[in-house]
């Protein structure tokens, strides 16, 4: 590394090596039509998806559009509260702002019938037992604490049912259906 020459007034002074630069942004979040519809239903323990008018793909959570085709999605469909793990990550290192007990599992949850997944926690499952294709179900907060918030579902836990085949789990299923045409 290049030697930096300092003025003698800093001789023997402990150098600064890092600086704290916290950033904080305060927004007022106003959900759009699709997210509002989703949140109102979610406040009643219902999970909604959007149906793509192009190929019938079910997108959860609904965003009001199919980003693959740039078309509006106006049809909603109620989803089941069970699905499978499409892929997952075990976190062993704490990060600021997350006070979860370590290790914890973050997973892409694919609800039954959904064509895309969403990120959520998996618990009641030792990390070494977690696997792609594992069937899971939602664990909701107590009814009196349910609101229009993503925090309604505490985590997902294994149902104990047989796994989805690896080839059909997560986005692999998506690609398999696309390649295979009608065998969705």
């Amino acid at each position: 590394m290049t030697e930096i020459r300092l003025p003698s007034s800093l001789d023997g002074i402990e150098p600064v090596q890092s600086v704290r630069t916290p950033i904080r942004m305060e927004y007022t979040f106003t959900p759009g039509v699709a997210a509002q519809t989703y949140l109102r239903a979610f406040g009643n323990k219902k999970i909604l998806g959007n149906v793509s008018p192009v190929d019938g793909a079910i997108l959860v959570p609904p965003r009001g559009a199919d980003p693959r085709h740039g078309v509006l999605c106006e049809e909603f469909v109620e989803m089941s509260h069970t699905g499978h793990v499409g892929s997952y990550c075990v976190t062993n290192v704490p990060i600021p702002g997350r006070d979860l007990d370590l290790p914890y599992i973050s997973a892409w949850i694919f609800l039954d019938g959904a064509d895309i997944g969403f990120l959520n926690l998996v618990a009641e499952c030792p990390p070494e037992k977690c696997r792609i294709g594992m069937r899971v179900e939602a664990v909701w907060k107590p009814d009196e604490e349910i609101g229009m918030t993503a925090e309604n579902i505490l985590y997902w836990r294994p149902t104990g049912e047989p796994d989805i085949p690896f080839e059909a789990a997560g986005v692999r299923g998506w690609h398999a259906r696309k390649a295979g045409g009608e065998n969705a």
Binding site: R5, P15, V16, V19, P22, E26, T30
Partner: protein, 151 residues
């Protein structure tokens, strides 16, 4: 929950970054902690404040850090009547480019005066240090006019 009122909620994004400074910015902050200001010398002898690791025009590696003065001239300024919540300053103040003695480039900082009437390009200002310094740009509370500090 069945209401059709528009939904809305506060959303706060917060990143508790700690950045490593590298040898040059680190030395600059070390200087601030010791209540001196360091620049870095270019090949043509001019001095950049704040210092950079590379010459912004020739891309040459720069290595010679030098101390510059604590008094400088305002080269341009703007007035902030209503600082935002997260501004380091609560009271109305100026933001100014200040060229310190011995420096050839200006530094952006606040000038702490009561009204924009007392400001002009070319006026001399000096650093007002915080009592406790930690190696951060905020070690400089701001700049104040030189005339008012002859005590």
């Amino acid at each position: 929950m069945e209401s059709n009122e528009r939904l809305s909620a506060p959303l706060v994004l917060e990143y508790p970054f700690t950045r490593t400074t590298g040898p040059v910015i680190g030395a600059f902050f070390t200087g601030l902690r010791e209540k001196i200001v360091l620049g870095i010398k270019r090949q043509d002898g001019t001095v950049l404040v704040p210092p950079t690791e590379y010459d912004p025009e020739t891309s040459e590696t720069l290595t010679e850090m030098v101390e510059v003065g604590q008094v400088g001239q305002i080269t341009t300024w703007t007035w902030v009547q209503e600082p935002r919540d997260q501004s380091p300053w609560d009271a109305p103040h100026a933001l100014a480019m200040i060229k310190l003695e011995g420096a050839d480039t200006p530094l952006l900082h606040a000038v702490l005066v009561d009204s924009p009437e007392s400001l002009e390009v070319g006026m001399n200002v000096r650093i007002k240090w915080r009592e406790e310094t930690e190696g951060h740009i905020k070690d400089i509370e701001g700049f104040i006019p030189v005339e008012e500090t002859n005590d």
